[in-house]
């Protein structure tokens, strides 16, 4: 089953993802301008883009465990997932800057409000990753160093989860569940047996 799926996927190119990705964002703005996005369209867009960005980070982190544990190979789509997620975060940031706070107290918000600080840190980590998501950069940097650099996605995902945990008011489950998913996807990468052997050897 998975084998048939993988060979089917081999024939699907990744490039259409780049064309499809802006469609939901454009749709969101279209609905907002039409007054179809609820009573506070600015917050609706801001929240929706934030959630989609988080989904993108989760999808990117899921690729390796899906291959390792289920044999499902989505590796060729991972670059597109990462780059698209970066643009969703950028759109989320721009909605905040232009439509929500409207350039007022931007620096004060970034340094004073923890959830903004953390979100910005996540975005800052994504910039070099997005800039080096091309074959030329992999050759230029060298595959080993490149892979090490792109391990920063783990940090970005954790910062995204922390951002969500900090921004909700009162005690709420949703960000806790997202954090659980992200931590689990990271935990699946740890080779626990090797880790155990190493601690034993040290003991």
């Amino acid at each position: 089953m998975i084998g048939a799926f993988n060979s089917g996927l081999r024939r699907v190119p990744a490039w259409p993802l780049y064309i499809l990705a802006p469609v939901p964002v454009a749709w969101l703005f279209w609905l907002a301008v039409q007054g179809q996005l609820g009573i506070d369209p600015t917050k609706s867009i801001e929240h929706q883009l934030g959630l989609w960005a988080l989904w993108g980070l989760i999808a990117g982190l899921a690729v390796t465990p899906l291959r390792k544990h289920l044999g499902l190979n989505l590796l060729k789509f991972r670059r597109a997932i990462g780059v698209i997620t970066f643009f969703y975060v950028l759109a989320h940031l721009l909605v905040w800057l232009v439509l929500d706070v409207q350039f007022q107290n931007v620096w004060a918000d970034i340094v004073k409000r923890w959830y903004i600080t953390i979100g910005m840190l996540g975005f800052a980590f994504m910039v070099p990753l997005a800039l080096t998501s091309n074959n030329w950069s992999i050759r230029r940097v060298g595959p080993v160093a490149w892979r090490r650099l792109h391990k920063a996605t783990y940090v970005v995902a954790l910062l995204g989860a922390l951002h969500f945990l900090l921004l909700v008011k009162g005690f709420q489950w949703e960000p806790i569940l997202y954090t659980g998913v992200i931590v689990s996807l990271l935990a699946l990468r740890v080779d626990w047996r090797a880790l155990g052997a190493r601690t034993q050897a040290r003991a």
Partner: protein, 304 residues
Amino acid sequence: MANRWTNTLSWNDVTPEAAFLNRRQLIAGAAALGAAGSIAGSVSAQDSGDALEPNTWEEITGYNNYYEFGTGKEDPARNAGQLTTQPWSIKIDGMVDNPGDYALEDLIAGLTVEERIYRFRCVEAWSMVIPWNGIELKDILDVAGVQSDAKYVAFETLVRPSEMPGVASRVLDWPYREGLRLDEATHPLTIMATGIYGRDIPNQNGAPIRLVVPWKYGFKSIKSIVRITLTDEEPQTSWNMANAREYGFFSNVNPNVDHPRWSQATERRIGGGLFAARQDTLMFNGYEDEVAAMYDGMDLAEFI
């Protein structure tokens, strides 16, 4: 002691007269209220820049923070329909001459219901203008007879898990609790609202009766009240219990004191659409002349 305050925002001030008359007629026919809302929308589109245009019925009743019905802004409108508000009784206890369980109709029988058009400012830095119908809280407290050593008024919201899906999760420590100093509670601006736009107040806005304190952040204006207690100690309040650093007991609207999560200098007026510019937040939400004297000598950056 009703009618101690006259609206600074009135229909005549805020809309061209033709639109006002037109809308008044519509409002007189209660069934036409949905239509009144959309007319208000088109009026505000015409004279954009008029900051005092009351929000539409749809905006006021479709965008609520009422966590007992869910944490999303549109959850209360979706989930509050099943709340039973009749019969309703309010327990009034503590330092009063006539403590007891009052049936709501008996409690407010004979008291004057006034139309009060107030600015409403949420701590989350958004705002509306709402035409409430309500009774001065002082008139209600007078029914119970406040004793001379009472200094504070504490309020509690209903907790009824069978009708309030949000209380299943402990977003806050239920019941929702709020409180005022006695001078704040008896101030002529402080009302107990039972209506909006001349209609019964909808469940998602705090039916059948809620507090409205227009110079404080919205969360102080506690909804669906079942208990009022007169005390001589500062009462516990829900958001202060959840996070004392972020939510103080007073929570007066103050553009000069930031909340840790939001700058309070400006606000987004709900209803302006995607590209509406932020507006300056006013000291005490624009009621400085009426209320500032109550806080003379207090450092408002300390007593948040």
